[in-house]
Each structure stands twice: as structure tokens, then as C-alpha cells.
């Protein structure tokens, strides 16, 4: 009994002392709705990044070190000093320069710096010797197509200054060819400006569902296709399979913790009603500006037997940008100051590898050759044609 009393007394004392040390809650602090100081801007940004970013486990940027280094720097900046406002772009560029999320961009809302933007992946790539800007290959590839090829455009859907453009036809009556420069295919359906896109896609899908004997192989060209609507992936690829087809795995951020993720969910292509397995050779063409949904399509095609990837390593933006409110994590805005685009989910191919920031490598590497193109030769397409023949 005495022992129990002693334990009781000691316990009361310990808990009471602990409570004395923290006898009230700290107020719940909300990120400032409209930050009025650079200290607010930085701390909101730093916290939102900590919550939203999906690559902390593989990123080389130490986010705690960023806080230690830049919190004092931003505290010294004055929101009313235009030089300081402009200087902050430089600091944000330095903070983000090594982030591996190749979808990552910052656009500034503040009027003084609204013409500035940060795109770390692009800034890294443009310093590489093999760098080239996106190229509209369709302008010379019509030379390879049989008479009767179709070009469709929808000027209501612009990406990187280019309207959605589809080129479709046959090559030597043996190869079914299609190219498109971004993914807003399904969105074009049923729109007044999307009639040509719709007709071409319906013709192409109809061919896929009933491939004529004379067609010996397919070429799908997503070179310089910067991606777009991820829903287009299944909309387009469902005509290549007749059963649910696994081509990778996706993982979503579900909590504020740095590594708070769902399990890896299977990434499937679900077949169209009338689709058949395409057993003929499929060649996918991509280059280092094939990004996002275009890379997902490359990986899907590569997961089909009898497929070959020709071209350059892709851009390496393999995660998913999901801008509707179905996700809790991903892109965010610091009110009145900046908008940050970042992935809500990450993707790994069926080989178990995340190709973010690395890019998906081709089976046959054909580098961009501007001189050949200026002379009317598309070497990667020629290689694809040779391979099917």
C-alpha cells in the first residue's frame, strides 16, 4: 500500500510539472492569407513546399537547410522596395534550381515581377550541349506521308504557343502514322473548333480497331509534345489493348508529413469496347521535349510487346499535375504573390524505376539534327520506317 502511494505521488508530481510547462495551447497559426512581408512570403512558401512536394525522399535539396539559409535573407527584404521585390526572383531561382520535379514552375503574381517565371528543369536542360527547342516536325513529315493524309488543328487549345495539331496518314501504304503536339484530344471533341481533330481521331481509332492487312506497323510520334491532359492517355491508348493493361504505378501524397504517401497504385490502360490487341510492330518517336502525358504514352507503348522507342531521352516530367480540388497536395498559390506548379502524384514504370528528372531512354538513340531537318530529312522517322520494313 505504501509503495502504491509513493508511485501515485511521484506520478502526480511529474505530470503536474509537465503541465505547468505547457498549460495552454499555442494558437493555431494560419499561413497569412495575404502575406504583407517577405518573411511571411518565404515562410508560407517554405511550409507549402514542405507539405506539397512529392519528391523529398529522392530530391537532393535539403529543405531544412533552405530555411536556415534563406529565412534571414527574406527577413531583410522590404516588400515596398522594388529592388528587393526583383531580388526575390533570384533567391527563389537559387532555392529551386536542383528540385527534381520537372513539372515545377513558379509564376509571379506580384505586378513588379509578373513577367518573371522560374522553370528549373528547363533552365538546367538549356545548358546541356544536346539541347534543342521543341520543333514542329509535322511541317516536314508530310513529305513522307501518302497522298490523302490529314492535318487537323484546334486553335482553342494552345500549348507553348502552338495550337493542337494532328497529322495522320499512311506511309508507303504499309505504315499507319499519327503525330500530335499536345494532349487536349478529348477536350477537342464536341467543340466547334475541334471538328477536324474529332474526325481524324475517329478515323484513326477506327483503323486501329480493324487494322487492314496491308498495314505492317504503326508509328506514333510525340516528339516535342509537351503533354497536357492526363485523361487523354487512356482516351488515346485504349485502342491499343483489349484487356486492362498495367504499365506502371502511381503514388499520391496524402498527408502533411514529408513521406506521407499512398501505396503504389497500379497504372492501367482500360480498353475500348471494340479494341483489339495490336500485335503489329509499334514504334513510338519522342524527343527531349516529350514531357508529362507524352512520356506516359511512351512508357505505355514500351510496355506493349513488339514496340520500339526511337529518338531522344524524354524530358523527365513523369509525375501528374492535377489542378482540380480532388487532391489535397500539389500546386499551390501564395496569395497576391506567386503560383507554384508541382506534381500531386509521382509515377514509376513497370520496371520499378522513377524516371523523373532523368527521362525515359530510347531503344534507338537518334539525336536532333537541325541540318538534316532543314534539308527535308527526318532521320528519326526514316529510322522508324526502315525498322518496320
Amino acid at each position: 500500500m505504501k509503495l502504491l502511494k509513493k508511485i501515485y505521488s511521484a506520478y502526480i508530481l511529474v505530470v503536474f510539472l509537465l503541465l505547468l510547462n505547457s498549460c495552454t495551447r499555442q494558437p493555431i497559426i494560419y499561413n497569412s492569407v495575404k502575406p504583407t512581408t517577405f518573411k511571411n512570403v518565404f515562410e508560407n512558401y517554405w511550409n507549402e513546399m514542405k507539405r506539397n512536394y512529392v519528391y523529398w525522399d529522392i530530391d537532393i535539396t535539403n529543405w531544412d537547410d533552405v530555411y536556415s539559409k534563406y529565412a534571414p535573407v527574406f527577413s531583410e527584404l522590404n516588400m515596398n522596395n522594388s529592388n528587393d521585390v526583383r531580388a526575390c526572383v533570384r533567391y527563389f531561382r537559387d532555392i529551386t534550381k536542383n528540385l527534381v520535379d520537372n513539372h515545377y514552375t513558379i509564376d509571379f503574381i506580384n505586378s513588379l515581377i509578373a513577367d518573371s517565371s522560374i522553370f528549373p528543369a528547363y533552365e538546367r536542360k538549356k545548358n546541356l550541349p544536346a539541347f534543342h527547342e521543341p520543333y514542329p516536325y509535322w511541317k516536314i513529315d508530310t513529305n513522307y506521308l501518302d497522298k490523302g493524309y490529314l492535318i487537323g488543328k484546334n486553335t482553342n487549345f494552345i500549348n507553348n504557343g502552338q495550337p493542337l495539331t494532328i497529322l495522320y496518314g499512311t506511309i508507303q501504304n504499309k505504315i499507319l502514322y499519327i503525330s500530335f503536339n499536345h494532349f487536349s484530344l478529348a477536350e477537342s471533341f464536341g467543340t466547334s473548333t475541334g471538328t477536324s481533330i474529332q474526325l481524324i481521331l475517329q478515323a484513326y481509332f477506327s483503323m486501329l480497331d480493324n487494322l487492314p492487312e496491308n498495314i505492317k506497323g504503326l508509328i506514333v510520334d510525340v516528339r516535342s509534345n509537351l503533354g497536357g491532359d492526363l485523361n487523354d492517355l487512356n482516351f488515346f491508348a485504349k485502342h491499343f489493348v483489349n484487356t486492362q493493361h498495367l504499365f506502371g504505378y502511381a503514388q499520391y501524397k496524402i498527408g502533411d508529413g514529408l513521406y506521407s504517401f499512398t501505396p503504389w497504385f497500379p497504372a492501367y490502360i482500360n480498353p475500348a469496347n471494340l479494341s483489339k490487341n495490336i500485335s503489329k510492330p509499334i514504334i513510338i518517336l519522342a524527343d527531349n521535349f516529350s514531357a508529362s502525358t507524352a512520356e506516359a504514352l511512351v512508357m505505355f507503348v514500351k510496355s506493349i510487346p513488339n514496340s520500339t522507342f526511337i529518338g531522344e531521352t524524354t524530358f523527365g516530367a513523369t509525375g501528374a499535375i492535377i489542378n482540380d480540388s480532388s487532391m489535397n497536395y500539389g500546386s499551390f498559390t501564395i496569395s497576391n504573390f506567386m503560383h507554384v506548379q508541382t506534381s500531386s502524384a509521382r509515377f514509376k514504370y513497370i520496371d520499378g524505376k522513377i524516371y523523373e528528372n532523368e527521362g525515359f531512354p530510347p531503344d534507338i538513340f537518334i539525336p536532333f539534327n537541325l541540318t538534316a531537318i532543314q534539308n527535308g530529312h527526318d532521320i528519326a522517322l526514316e529510322k522508324a520506317i526502315d525498322r518496320i520494313q
Binding site: 500500500m1 502504491l4 506520478y11 502526480i12 505530470v15 503536474f16 509537465l18 503541465l19 505547457s22 498549460c23 495552454t24 495551447r25 499555442q26 493555431i28 497559426i29 497569412s32 515562410e43 508560407n44 511550409n47 514542405k50 507539405r51 530555411y67 478529348a186 477536350e187 471533341f189 464536341g190 467543340t191 474529332q198 492526363l230 485523361n231 492517355l233 487512356n234 482516351f235 506502371g248 504505378y249 502511381a250 499520391y252 496524402i254 498527408g255 502533411d256 508529413g257 514529408l258 513521406y259 506521407s260 504517401f261 499512398t262 501505396p263 497504385f265 497500379p266 497504372a267 492501367y268 482500360n270 506516359a296 501528374a320 492535377i322 480540388s325 480532388s326 487532391m327 502524384a345 509515377f347
Partner: protein, 229 residues
Amino acid sequence: MSYSIHGLGQFYLGSQAGYANNHLNTNNALAKNNDGSGYVVSGNCYYFFKKAFIETDIMLISKNYTFQKPGNYNAIYQQYKNNYVQLPLVFGFHAFKKHQFSVVVEGGFFIAYWLQARIKGVLPNVYNSIDSMSSNGRIMQYAYLTQYSIKYTFTNSDNRWELGWIGGVGIQYAIKPNTILLLNGKYFYSLTNKQKNDHNNQIQGYNETGLISVGVLLKFCKNKKTDKN
């Protein structure tokens, strides 16, 4: 023969079980913050004075909560199931007492340790979708909702210790000189954030847990002779 609810200076040991309802006080503006249902089981130790008592327990208690998307996305949710081992220390007195029956009012404090957590939920897997054409020729696209259930891995940012205040009321009924039945309602108000306060402006969350439990207490040592012949 008669007996009152308890005499002076007596130890009782017992156990209780019941229902726990938890609310996470936080600033998640993106989702509805729903209370979570759970359980509580405890081993109890009471020391009775003439009109008051001290209670301490060791309890296993769940502090669950759910975030659910509003509007069209209300099928999307995240359910957090958290288990704590908790040591409350409660001071109580008899607000009303008649024969074997007593109404008690309690207050005190507790210390808890976050033992284990699990996150269950549903979200749209955008890499598993289907589409169909609507009557106006537009393409409608749907991502399959996918369930998940994962064991939560604690990080250095998690504050697994919790301290707070307790308030409660209860009914005690002595069915025998050495046996008391209990019906308790308690409210646990945490003072500590579930996340460590290592930088400003971080997301914070405080548990607020109500429970209703029933149980029984048995006298720990021999009763002093109080019966009249």
C-alpha cells in the same frame, strides 16, 4: 446490514471500456473535418476519501478523425486511426450522494503517448480512368476511386507525447461493499500539438476527445470493519 458507497482511505482497482469520439482541432481548409469514432479500454485505480477520490488509469484510447472532400468530391476521404496509451490523473468529488448511489464531478490532467497510426482512404487514381461520350458529343472522363490503408510511419516532426486537461462527470453505484459499478463521461483536451513546433506557420493539430465508459471497481484490500450488527 447496510453499507455506503465507500469508506475512508480505500483503494479500488477495476476496469472500464467504452466509446471515444475525437475531434482534431486544425486548420485544414481543403476538406470537411469529421469527428472519428473509436474505443477506450482502461485499467483503473481509485483512492477514496470521505467526499472525494483520486483516480488514475492506464488506458488504450483511439483518437480518430476523418477529412472528407466537400461537394462533388465527397466520396474522397482520409480517415486517421490513431491509438494512444494514456495515463490520466483525476481528482473527483461527490456532487450528490445517497446510499449506494453517487454522482461525481471530476477534473485533472493526462499524459499520453501516440502508439500507432493508420491512414485509410479513397482517392481518384488518375492513372486508371475511363471515358464515355455524352449526348452533346463531349468526352466525359472518370478516374476510378481507389482505396488505401497504410500503417503510418512516424517522422521526427511528429510529437508523440501529449499532455492535457480532463473534465468529466460520472455515476457510481455500489452493488456490494467491495464492488462499485461506474458510468463515466470524460473530456480530454490536449494542450500539445501533434506536430513539433520546429518552424513557424506549420500545420498544427490538437486532439479533443470525449468518452463514455462503463466499468467496475473492486476493493483492493480487506475492508475495515464498518458493518453494524
